[in-house]
């Protein structure tokens, strides 16, 4: 508000104070924008963009647009950039850019095109808009900036304003549809259906538990079957199992049916 009042005092032309603020914040915004491009880390890019947006917000306030300045800080740096950071953290902070050029010479061409575009813009704007008389908003915003913008939105721009509400609802729904993980939940079986499925299936008993040893007692070690071989079913599919030596087959027990049969065989 104070900034806007200072700017109001020098309605049309810019005052000295505004010139000082511009020559400090303008280069800061530009430098932050350039470093945003060159930053390898995407999080650094986001923070540089926040810096540019904050400088622009103060420039808006200097230009008799305090409402837009605060909306810039709240919506852009507060909401949009935080959304960017959330997505960066979800997608993976270290998803850095690939250095491989898919199209040869594309970066150089892009930089040259940008340079030419900047020259064109600066030359055109500088030649045509130089020493343009600026009327300033002193008369247009008699009751203050926010009142004036509110009156305009709810009279002349009422239809576009209503359309933005439809746009925002559509965007929120679209984001929910797109970001929703389409993982189909397993069909829930009833008790009777579960029993039937188990009896019809190839395994009736529950899966064996993990092995318990003197050296390890964890779900990552498999159980051993009575003959010393590893029970594959005792390992979970998700957990990466540890190596367990198959115990050497014990000398066949005279009382065990299997051992006796083996002895008979040999």
């Amino acid at each position: 508000m104070i900034l806007a009042q200072v700017a109001d005092a020098t309605a049309g032309d810019t005052g000295v104070g505004e010139a000082i603020v511009f020559w400090i914040l303008g280069p800061v915004a530009l430098a932050a924008a350039v470093s945003m491009i060159f930053a390898r880390n995407a999080v650094h890019s986001a923070l540089f963009l926040v810096m540019t947006m904050l400088s622009l917000a103060i420039l808006y306030m200097m230009q008799q647009a305090p409402f837009l300045g605060f909306v810039q800080i709240i919506v852009y740096t507060g909401a949009v950039m935080m959304l960017f950071l959330f997505v960066l953290m979800l997608v993976g902070r270290d998803s850095s850019d690939s250095v491989v050029e898919v199209l040869r010479g594309q970066r150089v061409a892009g930089a040259l095109l940008g340079l030419a575009f900047a020259l064109l813009l600066v030359a055109g704007v500088g030649r045509t808009m130089f020493a343009v008389p600026s009327t300033g908003l002193g008369s247009g915003a008699a009751n203050g900036n926010i009142t004036g913008i509110g009156r305009l939105i709810f009279t002349d721009y009422l239809l576009p304003f209503e359309l933005t509400s439809a746009l925002l609802i559509t965007a929120a729904l679209g984001a929910m549809v797109l970001a929703f993980a389409q993982k189909k939940p397993k069909a829930k079986l009833g008790q009777r259906a579960a029993v039937v499925a188990r009896l019809r299936g190839d395994r009736i008993s529950p899966l064996p538990g993990p092995g318990v040893y003197a050296t390890a007692n964890s779900v990552a070690v498999p159980a051993l079957l009575p003959d010393g071989s590893i029970a594959r079913e005792s390992l979970s599919d998700i957990i990466e199992g540890h190596e367990v030596d198959e115990t050497p087959r014990p000398p066949s027990d005279a009382h065990s049916l299997q051992g006796r049969r083996k002895e008979l065989d040999s």
Binding site: I37, A65, Q72, S95, S134, T135
Partner: protein, 99 residues
């Protein structure tokens, strides 16, 4: 100093954003560059409002902000769903909108 300087700054910021879109490969950084271009245009709209002495330019900038917010939400959701299926956020890897 005349308000033209703001226009020059806005043109330069727009150029930086455009070069970023052309040069960078990370989809999220490309998206940030688009945001920068929108911001640059907003600055020029605010400056035009001041030069003309009417508030219409500021209302336009306000609408641009609303549309940009909606665009960011949908765009980031698309980037996330592409990352979920392709495990990459590079614009070179995405060549299909489905699967």
């Amino acid at each position: 100093m005349s308000p033209t300087n703001y226009l020059l700054l806005s043109g330069l910021l727009f150029t930086v954003g455009a070069v970023g879109v052309l040069v960078r490969r990370n989809a999220i950084v490309v998206f940030m560059c688009i945001e920068l271009m929108l911001n640059a245009v907003n600055l020029s709209l605010v400056t035009f409002a001041r030069i003309n002495g009417t508030l219409d330019g500021q209302v336009m900038a306000f609408f641009v902000m609303v549309v940009a917010a909606a665009e960011v939400v949908v765009g980031l959701a698309i980037i996330m769903s592409i990352f979920r299926t392709r495990r990459s956020s590079s614009v070179d890897d995405a060549n299909l909108l489905k699967y």
